[in-house]
């Protein structure tokens, strides 16, 4: 009997459950598949429900309102009420619409949204699909959502829908480049597309593992990619690009309600609309999970050992707690940004991707390469860090200043004189 | 394991379908789609031969397919740009009405 390790409890339970099926390999495979997919399908819609509530409450507080408080204590049952309302609504399909495409669009959006979750490592030994090409698979399946948005916009036979769909395509294709390129820096530094290896890489910081116990507690934090200059810049680029990729504020032009009704969602109602809504949130979770994995150390948190165990890998707080905490923290930042920033104009949006984020992401790759080869002192990047940071900061300032349009005169207000 | 024949037959049929598209349709974009299908059929062949070949560790088939995909991307970009440019000139995407050289 191995001592109980809270970190690996679920993994051990799964293995224990599967050990009964050793004599039926086919059943065991099926059960293993179910055990790795059903939690995804169960947990993430739950997270989606919590997030809609958090978002409504948070936005309300930012706008000096109270937010939902009628259903249940603090309005916590609001998602359930919304869900019931959505399900009971009539499913209206426009008469002239392209029925098949109109029906398939939410499905095409939802399937990749759930599939990409499977390459995220939620904990040590807890990854639904441990594939060698995790990150690229994520980006590949993520790019399918562009198609779904187009299908929704085109099949509705509504000019607002079509405009929204075309805007979505232009936006998502443009922002995919900085998104992938800022991820490429991490892949380059890790030397692997495998998400588990990317997380493992961030836990290696020898100079702190060898020092005293107090610092060792921080050992798994210091190594996070976000604490390197290229990682910090990459994280910011990735985060901004992911906001655009999942059509969230301030890049929600495809569903800009003040201009084009609701964009590609205009002609959707009832259950299909709910599916759209849910897949948008699930892909938001997925992309936040990926940025957690790439830059924020995945499931690693402070090394708190359980007092009864000598196993160096044993952790008191399971890794998936840290993972979900980081994911939700990023989600909250997204809500915060939604409550703060106004929507961009279309040409500003495209210019921001092509003229600002893309050069910065390319610059980031060079800085990553320099950081990798810069001389170190006892494993500490004494040269790479400050110079890399300086280069990234200067290129940020320069590219930003080059992008500035002609300076407009200070606006003067002429009151009745 | 599925034998190599099967992959090759599928790839041959796909090539046939792509050729059919190129030869029988008059819309420029459909002709491009046919070309893409033929390219993909060739890619399937490369991968199948790589998998069944004696030296999969050399990854030759995969590398060739990778280059072929890159070239197909370039081809699609230039081809569609040409379609749009020609459309602006003739106001039709119909290949049979583009007859300036012919007349």
């Amino acid at each position: 009997m191995t001592p109980i390790n809270p970190d690996q409890l679920i993994v051990q339970l799964t293995q224990w459950a599967l050990s009964f099926l050793d004599s039926y390999p086919l059943v065991a495979v099926l059960v293993a598949i179910l055990l790795s997919t059903v939690p995804l399908i169960a947990v993430f819609p739950g997270c989606f429900a919590i997030t809609t509530w958090l978002e409504r409450k948070g936005l309300a507080r930012i706008q000096n309102r109270i937010g939902p408080n009628r259903t249940g204590p603090l309005g916590i049952l609001q998602p359930a009420a919304d869900g019931i309302k959505m399900l009971l609504k009539e499913d209206i399909v426009p008469k002239t619409s392209d029925r098949l495409a109109h029906f398939l669009a939410p499905v095409v959006l939802m399937v990749p949204a759930f599939t990409i979750l499977s390459v995220l490592p939620f904990n040590r030994n807890m990854i639904p699909a441990a594939v060698d090409t995790g990150v690229i698979l994520f980006f590949a399946l993520g790019s399918v959502s562009t198609l779904a948005v187009f299908m929704a916009g085109w099949s509705s036979r509504n000019k607002y829908s079509l405009l929204g769909g075309m805007r979505a395509i232009a936006q998502m294709v443009s922002y995919e480049l900085p998104l992938v390129l800022s991820g490429v820096t991490v892949i380059m530094m890790t030397g692997s597309l495998d998400t588990t290896k990317i997380v493992a890489q961030q836990q290696l910081s020898e100079w702190i593992q060898s020092s005293n116990a107090g610092l060792q507690c921080l050992g798994q934090i210091i190594g996070w990619n976000v604490f390197t200059p290229w990682g910090f810049a990459g994280f910011l680029i990735f985060f901004v690009a992911s906001l655009a990729e999942i059509n969230r504020c301030p890049f929600d032009l495809p569903e800009a309600d003040s201009e084009i009704v609701a964009g590609h969602l205009t002609e959707y109602s009832g259950f299909k609309y709910a599916l759209f809504f849910m897949s948008e949130y699930v892909s938001a979770f997925a992309i936040n999970g990926l940025s957690t994995t790439l830059f924020l150390g995945g499931w690693s948190g402070p090394n708190i050992r359980p007092p009864w165990s000598d196993d160096p890998n044993a952790l008191l707080i399971p890794g998936f707690v840290w993972f979900f905490a980081k994911m939700f923290a990023l989600m909250l930042v997204m809500i915060w940004i939604r409550g703060t920033l106004p929507r961009l104009r279309v040409d500003h949006l495209m210019g921001f991707a092509w003229k600002f984020l893309l050069p910065l992401a390319i610059m980031n790759i060079f800085v990553g390469g320099f950081y990798y080869y810069a001389p170190r002192w006892h494993g500490i990047p004494v040269v790479g860090w400050p110079i890399g940071f300086l280069v990234m900061y200067l290129s940020y300032e320069c590219i930003g200043r080059l992008n500035r349009g002609p300076k407009t005169a200070q606006r003067v207000y002429h009151y009745a004189s | 394991m599925v034998p190599l024949h099967y992959y090759l037959v599928v790839s041959a049929i796909l090539f046939f379908v792509g050729l059919l598209g190129v030869l029988t349709r008059r819309h420029a974009i459909i002709v491009l789609i046919g070309v893409e299908i033929m390219l993909n059929a060739a890619n399937l062949n490369f991968i199948a031969f790589w998998r069944f070949g004696p030296n999969p560790d050399l990854l030759l088939g995969q590398l060739f397919t990778l280059f072929s995909i890159a070239i197909a991307g370039a081809e699609a970009a230039v081809g569609l740009a040409l379609v749009i440019a020609v459309y602006r000139f003739y106001k039709t995407p119909d290949l049979e009405k583009m007859t300036s050289l012919h007349e």
């Binding site: 948070g58 507080r61 930012i62 000096n64 109270i66 915060w336 409550g339 703060t340 300032e397 | -």
Partner: protein, 181 residues
């Protein structure tokens, strides 16, 4: 530095977010049906008829059915029929006093023109009814409200009115005595 404006904006919203938990000014919402809004002193909504004695509303109502307000009302939402006593003589009391509040625009002209201080502005706002014809036509019985109520909603104005009325009552008393003097 570039992008500092975005950070400033984020700080503002964060202040609003956290401030709404501690600062009453940053969360002005009132949960209406449970906690009613306090009405300000000068709020006015629809007219009501004042009476003096709580025991006998109909007897002590100030209105004499002079129909000035009916004539002056711009949207013509007041309808008055004077009461006649057994002899057929006018009884200086309205038999019918209707205000169609779906038409009333709250202009307060009826109050301005009333020589008897009998019609005043109310500040109640919960006027919703399930019936859009009869429910929005307020009868004499609905409109009659006591002077104490008037004191409660508009204390200053009610006091002023009371003083004026008292002065008026006093005035006629010396008038007959003048020839005697």
């Amino acid at each position: 530095m570039l992008g500092i404006g975005i950070l400033k904006g984020m700080v503002v919203t964060a202040k609003n977010f956290f401030g709404s938990f501690v600062n009453k000014r940053l969360l002005p919402t009132i949960q209406y049906p449970e906690a009613g809004n306090s009405v300000t002193l000068f709020s006015r909504n629809i007219p009501f008829l004042v009476y003096d004695n709580d025991e006998d509303p109909l007897g002590t109502m100030r209105c004499v059915a002079c129909k000035i307000c009916e004539k002056e009302c711009p949207p013509q939402c007041i309808y008055i029929v004077m009461e006649k006593d057994a002899n057929g003589k006018p009884a200086k009391r309205p038999k019918v006093f209707d205000i169609d509040i779906s038409v009333c625009m709250g202009c307060q002209i009826c109050v301005e023109v009333c020589p008897f201080e009998s019609i005043k502005m109310d500040s109640t706002f919960e006027l919703s009814t399930p019936d859009r014809f009869e429910g929005l036509l307020l009868k004499r019985e609905h409109l009659l409200k006591s002077n104490t109520y008037f004191h409660k909603i508009h204390p200053d104005e009610a006091q002023e009115v009371d003083d004026r009325l008292a002065a008026k009552q006093k005035k006629p008393a010396p008038t007959p005595s003048t020839p005697a003097a």
